[in-house]
C-alpha cells in the first residue's frame, strides 16, 4: 500500500546549482505557517546533504527524500519556535521504552499518531493509526473512548494537546508518549 505524501507547497528547484535550492527553500519557508510541509524538487545532488544541514541549523524538521529519476524530492516541515521544547500538561505519560515493552508483550492498545501524513509516511511505529492533530476533533468516531490509547507525535508536544482533547471528549485511557518518535528506538515502518 502506498501513502501519497501530502505537501502544502511544492517548490521547483530543478536545474539550479548550490546555493540556490537552499536560498529558495528559505524564502519559501518564510512564507509558510508552522506545521506546514514543503516539497522541494531539486536536481542538485549536493542538496541531499545541504537540505538536512539546513534543517538542523534552522530548527525546521527534515522528513525525508524520495528520488525519482534525476529529481530529488525533499520534504520539510516548518517548526514553530516553541515546539522543540517539550511541554507536559497532560498528566498521564509513558516513555517510548514503556510503550515498546507493551507492544512487544502483545498488550492490546491503540497507537495513535497525530503527526502530519508526510511525517507518518517516512517513519512510524508499526500498526500506528494516523490522524493528524488538526483533524482529530472531526475524526473522533474512528476511535473508541473505552480503548487504551497511546498518543505519539515527534517530541510529545502535539500528542500532549491531542491527549487533552481526547480526555475532554470523554476518552478514559489516554496516555501521552513523551519524547515521541524522536525518542523511539523500537522497530519502524515506512512507506518510502
Amino acid at each position: 500500500m502506498s501513502t501519497q505524501i501530502q505537501a502544502n507547497k511544492t517548490l521547483d528547484c530543478k536545474g539550479l546549482a548550490c546555493p540556490m535550492p537552499i536560498v529558495k527553500t528559505k524564502k519559501a519557508m518564510d512564507q509558510m505557517h508552522p506545521g506546514e510541509v514543503i516539497e522541494v524538487q531539486a536536481t542538485d545532488k549536493g542538496s541531499l546533504a545541504d537540505i538536512q544541514g539546513w534543517a538542523k541549523n534552522t530548527g525546521h524538521q527534515y522528513l525525508g527524500t524520495i528520488t525519482e529519476g534525476e529529481v530529488l524530492k525533499h520534504y520539510l516541515r516548518k517548526s514553530s519556535p516553541d515546539e522543540t521544547k517539550e511541554e507536559k500538561k497532560y498528566p498521564i505519560t509513558v516513555t517510548t521504552d514503556e510503550l515498546e515493552q507493551k507492544l512487544k508483550a502483545g498488550d492490546k492498545t491503540t497507537v495513535l499518531d497525530v503527526r502530519e501524513p508526510a511525517e507518518y509516511a517516512f517513519q512510524r511505529i508499526p500498526g500506528a493509526k494516523s490522524i493528524p492533530l488538526s483533524e482529530l476533533e472531526n475524526r473522533l468516531h474512528e476511535l473508541n473512548p473505552e480503548d487504551d490509547i497511546h498518543v505519539v507525535c515527534r517530541t510529545g508536544n502535539r500528542s500532549d494537546m491531542a491527549c487533552q482533547l481526547l480526555a475532554d471528549k470523554g476518552f478514559k485511557n489516554v496516555k501521552n508518549v513523551v519524547s515521541g518518535i524522536s525518542g523511539w528506538t523500537g522497530p519502524v515502518d515506512r512507506t518510502h
Binding site: G15, L16, A17, C18, P19, M20, I22, V23, T25, K26, K27, D50, G53, W54, N57, T58
Partner: protein, 131 residues
C-alpha cells in the same frame, strides 16, 4: 543566539568570488548573520563594473563553459541575493585610498570601514573564513 559568519575576501578572481558569495548566501539562508570584509583585490568583487567581468585564473578560461552548463547564477545575481538576505558588506577604506577608489565606484548598500570595523563584527563570530 544565531550563528555569526565573518568572511575576509582579499582576492579578485571569479573563483574567489564564488567561494565568497556561495558561502555567504548559504549562511544567510541558514539564518546566520554574515559580514564580509573586502580588501585589496577582493574589492573587485563589489566594484560596480569589475564584478560583472571577473577573470578566470590563467589557463582555466575553459571553465567559463562549465559555469554556464551547470546553470550557476552570475556573481551580480549572487551579490544581490546576499544583500537581500542582509549580508553586511564592508569595503576596506585603506585599500580604497591606495587604489584611489571612492564609495561611488562600488555597488549600492555597502559600508566602508577600517580593520577595526571588521574586527568588531568578527570578534564573537562562530565561523571566520578568509578567501
Amino acid at each position: 543566539m544565531s550563528t555569526k559568519v565573518a568572511i575576509i575576501a582579499s582576492n579578485g578572481g571569479l573563483f574567489d568570488a564564488y567561494k565568497v558569495f556561495n558561502i555567504a548566501t548559504a549562511s544567510a539562508a541558514t539564518d546566520a548573520e554574515v559580514g564580509i570584509f573586502f580588501t585589496f583585490e577582493g574589492l573587485n568583487l563589489i566594484h560596480k563594473q569589475a564584478h560583472h567581468q571577473l577573470p578566470l585564473p590563467a589557463g582555466r578560461e575553459h571553465f567559463a563553459e562549465g559555469f554556464k552548463n551547470a546553470n550557476i547564477p552570475s556573481i551580480p545575481e549572487l551579490v544581490a541575493m546576499a544583500q537581500e538576505m542582509g549580508v553586511k558588506i564592508i569595503a576596506c577604506q585603506m585599500t580604497m585610498d591606495v587604489m584611489n577608489l571612492t564609495r561611488e565606484d562600488f555597488i549600492e548598500g555597502i559600508e566602508v570601514g577600517g580593520a577595526v570595523t571588521f574586527l568588531d563584527f568578527a570578534k564573537d563570530a562562530n565561523v571566520t573564513l578568509a578567501f
